[in-house]
């Protein structure tokens, strides 16, 4: 606002309104307008063709691409583990059947017989260990629907469960293993390290509804994320059924994917968005739980509420939020939600940075456009203004502008100047002639005036002489009866006074000669005169007297 106040736009606007606009300002304004229009058009086209999309959809596009890639990877990885699990189950079935056959036992004979079960564990250990080594997982197990002690308070199941110790890489080959579940005898015979949470048998709900879970068409099951008993770990299990030769399910076997292994084997990075968090989630009534590739989120009791907003998903962890995308993925017989996210502040920062960059670019373009226009305006208009100034100061333009229209204008103006000069010269000559004529007229006038004065004095002299010659009574009669003349007669009288002869009066009045003679006779009779000569003498005298009278009246 301060800047706008400083710019004092109001004053500038008023100045433009009242004082007109300079050529340079007008030129600059036109260029700016033209560039602004072109820029607007370019921006519009870029937007229409998707090159200059808003930032949020761009981020979502990238997330979608990464998510799609991540889902493919998850499907591939879990299918691979499932394939290993199925193969593992077949090997177990074969070994168990062999053992039972060799010892002439039925599967039920293993119940409450630690000797058989320990022996079977030792036989199956190699199969388990080998499958664990080749399968990308953090642990492997088999569980049989039997126990060494059916009188135990809780249901326990016999089997072996091995876990890697010192897991720090997705590549777990040569990592040491520990015995998490299995008999002491097996542990010692196989020289295994006992897990801190070791127990000899398993408590598990793997067998709950086992027949339903492994309905026809179900190749494997991916369990929900569960806490591994006696440890701080959580894991999902990929497991398949183990059948006896009658196709009854006698156990399950599979692999453990704990949170740490999930983290190590699921890394998603984006060159623009940075490190992303991916997750494989179970959904129940809008609440999500599962595994994340960051221990940060694996500790949130995995409760995530999601809300769709503006095309993206908000993952609410309570004290922090993430923004991302989700999609469904079917693994085994169940549908899971694959998610890809980044912290909300990071998301906002990317948007803000993008917007700021765009704003910055626009400002810079505007700024440089403005500067360029000012420069161009100056460059283009300045020589013209300079030439005009030179013209104003009557100097000859030193250098041609090389602008055709302007040079033509100056040539035109020069021609006009020549014409005007010629015209002026002729006018000057005319003026001189007129002055000479006026001088001559003046002299003639003065001469005429002198003659006139002379004639006046002569007239006066003659008048006085007439006065002396004229009979006063006749003249008075003449004066007194002058008013008795008819208008026609008086007109003829005046024409005579004007010096017109009979022919001219006939022509003017449209009379015949006789009519004139008739009127003359009446005039003579009424005025008491006998000739035109007498008439003129009396009339001249009267005029002279009228003139003297009027001059005396004006004096008084």
């Amino acid at each position: 606002m301060k800047l706008f106040r400083t710019l004092n736009l109001k004053r500038i606007r008023e100045h433009i309104k009242t004082g007109g606009t300079s050529m340079r300002r007008r030129f600059t304004a036109y260029i700016i307008s033209a560039i602004a229009m072109v820029l607007s058009l370019i921006l519009l086209l870029l937007n229409i063709f998707g090159i200059l999309n808003p930032i949020t959809p761009q981020i979502m596009d990238r997330l979608d691409t990464q998510l799609s890639s991540y889902v493919s990877l998850v499907e591939h990885d879990y299918d691979k583990v499932a394939a290993y699990a199925i193969s593992f189950a077949e090997q177990l079935e074969h070994s168990i059947q062999n053992y039972l056959t060799t010892n002439n036992l039925a599967f039920d004979d293993l119940q409450n017989n630690s000797e058989y079960l320990n022996e079977l564990q030792e036989i199956l250990y190699d199969t388990l260990y080998l499958n664990m080594q080749i399968t990308p997982s953090s642990g492997a197990f088999y569980i049989l629907n039997t126990t060494v002690n059916t009188s135990s308070d809780v249901s326990r199941y016999n089997g072996l469960y091995l876990k890697y110790i010192n897991l720090y890489s997705e590549n777990a080959v040569n990592n040491k293993i520990s015995l998490y579940r299995g008999s002491v005898t097996t542990g010692k015979e196989c020289n295994l390290t006992f897990h801190s949470g070791w127990q000899n048998e398993m408590q598990t709900d793997f067998f709950d509804d086992c027949n339903k879970v492994f309905s026809p068409g179900t190749h494997y099951v991916l369990s929900p994320t569960v806490n591994i008993p006696e440890t701080w770990e959580r894991a999902r299990y990929i497991y398949v059924p183990v059948y006896d030769f009658k196709e009854n399910i006698i156990g399950v076997c599979g692999f453990e994917i704990n949170d740490l292994y999930f983290q190590l084997s699921n890394k998603v990075n984006d060159s623009k968005l940075g490190q992303l968090t991916c997750a494989l989630l179970d959904e129940a009534g809008g609440v999500y739980s599962g595994q994340f590739n960051s221990s940060r989120y694996n500790t949130f009791d995995s409760l995530v509420n999601t809300t769709d907003k503006n095309g993206y998903t908000i993952f609410d962890f309570g004290n922090e939020k993430c923004v991302g995308r989700t999609t469904t993925v079917t693994l085994g017989k169940d549908t899971f939600t694959a998610a890809l996210m980044l912290p909300e502040p990071q998301f906002r920062r990317i948007i803000n940075t993008g917007q700021l960059q765009t704003l910055c670019i626009i400002l810079l373009v505007v700024f440089f456009t403005f500067i360029s226009c000012l420069f161009l305006g100056k460059k283009f208009v300045s020589p013209i203004l300079k030439t005009i100034e030179q013209i104003k100061s009557n100097e000859e333009p030193t250098v041609p502008l090389n602008i055709r229209e302007i040079d033509d204008l100056f040539a035109f103006l020069e021609e006009r100047d020549v014409i005007y000069e010629k015209k002026l010269q002729s006018l000057e000559e005319a003026r001189q002639l007129a002055e000479e004529e006026a001088q001559r007229t003046k002299l003639a006038y003065e001469r005429a005036l002198a003659q006139y004065s002379l004639a006046q004095s002569e007239i006066q002299h003659l008048s006085e002489n007439y006065k002396k010659d004229i009979v006063l009574e006749d003249y008075e009669f003449f004066i007194c009866n002058l008013s008795t003349l008819t208008p026609t007669e008086y007109k003829i009288y005046e024409l005579y006074l004007d010096g017109k002869d009979a022919k001219e009066i006939i022509k003017i009045m449209g009379f015949t000669e006789n009519t004139l003679k008739y009127h003359n006779k009446n005039i003579y009779s009424k005025l008491g005169i006998s000739s035109r000569k007498q008439l003129l003498r009396f009339a001249t005298l009267k005029q002279h007297q009228d003139k003297i009278g009027s001059s005396e009246d004006s004096k008084t």
Binding site: V148, N166, S169, T193, S196, L364
Partner: protein, 453 residues
Amino acid sequence: MKRILTKILLFSFTILCLCSCANQNEPSPANPVTLTMWHVYGSQTESPLNNAIDEFNRTVGVEKGITINVVSVTSSSAIDKALAASAMGEPGAEDMPDLFTAYPRVAEIVGIEKLLRWDKYFTEEELSLFHNDFLSEGYFDNQLLMLPIAKSTEALFINQTLFDRFCNETGTSISALNSFEGLFQVVRDYYDWSGGQNFMQFNDYYNYAYIGMKAYGSELIRDNRLQLDDSAFEKVWIPLAQTAIYGGICLEDGYAASRWKTVEIIANTGSTADVLYQPKEVIYSDNTSESIDTLALPYPTFSNNNPGAIYRGGGLFATKSEDERKNRAAYIFAKWLTEEANNLNFVTQAGYLPVTDNAFNTLFSDINVVKNKDYHSVYNAVDTMIQNYNFYALPLYENASEIQLDFESNVKTVLKIAHNQYIKRINEGENPSTVMEELITNSLYELKKLSNK
């Protein structure tokens, strides 16, 4: 017009600066940093450091945009191996973690130049809060590369339930375990009483020898070499060898805690942090189980001469990053973890000792700071040791790690062979005393020979 142009120019320049330079060196929620970490502070059942890290991630981490992502909780030897593999770029090795806990020896493996200097981030005032002995261990060429976050010392752990049973039947007193002489006698007695069961496992023979030599006024390491020809070493070696050859000391590799669980042993010397791994029940070979109590006792002395113990535990290293935000994030986390309340909360869940003087005083002025009552005996034992013992940090010298590992392996090998020969020859009817004397002498000779290879 010029002024207006200048203002526009300045405004644009400021925006450009804001775009390009804002918070480049400091992590923030908008510009978050994730640090990967390998550490040793946890068993397979519990990880107090993970709990502390969760706390950090949920509080300061959220506030400052820092995530500590634990990608491995493992043993120090596994970390050494993995770090070496990462540093050498071995196929299949992971990238070096941003943070890891390890012993000082790892600096040599990884390379000092690759490690973050904590003294460039911690102020002198902040560093002055640390316990001086702990801090000094972390300096390499006057550069603080290893920051102490938790220390331990060594103690003797006893399966009290089974030991009491043994004492009741044999009249052995628990006070016999105060010295190594007494302990070795108890080991032999238990071996006889149990019909050939091992009584205990030594977690670290190198530490045993080091403290023993100190007790007799000598040094195990001089001129970067083991001083096995020193007469003090014989004084340390003979009682150990005599007992190990006789029987009752487990000479196999592996964790003592596993053997506790299957009752292969009922005692071990080891880090006070072993309390975290001690099982609460044992399982016998007939698949029956029994709940047990665990007792921690001060590290035994050598004829009550100069009682001493090792300050164990490595410290926190950070890999130097070109991204300064990562270095700053590592400092913020390390500072948080070593603050009195956080440090006490973390170490007392794991049997460790805090690293600042204030936290140290707080802990030993009121042991009830330790919330887990099962751990009180450990801290009581340490309290006794603090009153009466000298504490030593293991010396760092060229090839220290290799020499230490070789010594451990050689001691076990020599004594295992000697034990097997002893059993065999006794069974063949030879005089036990003569055989014993011969095997003790031979074992020492063999040990020296192996160590000089």
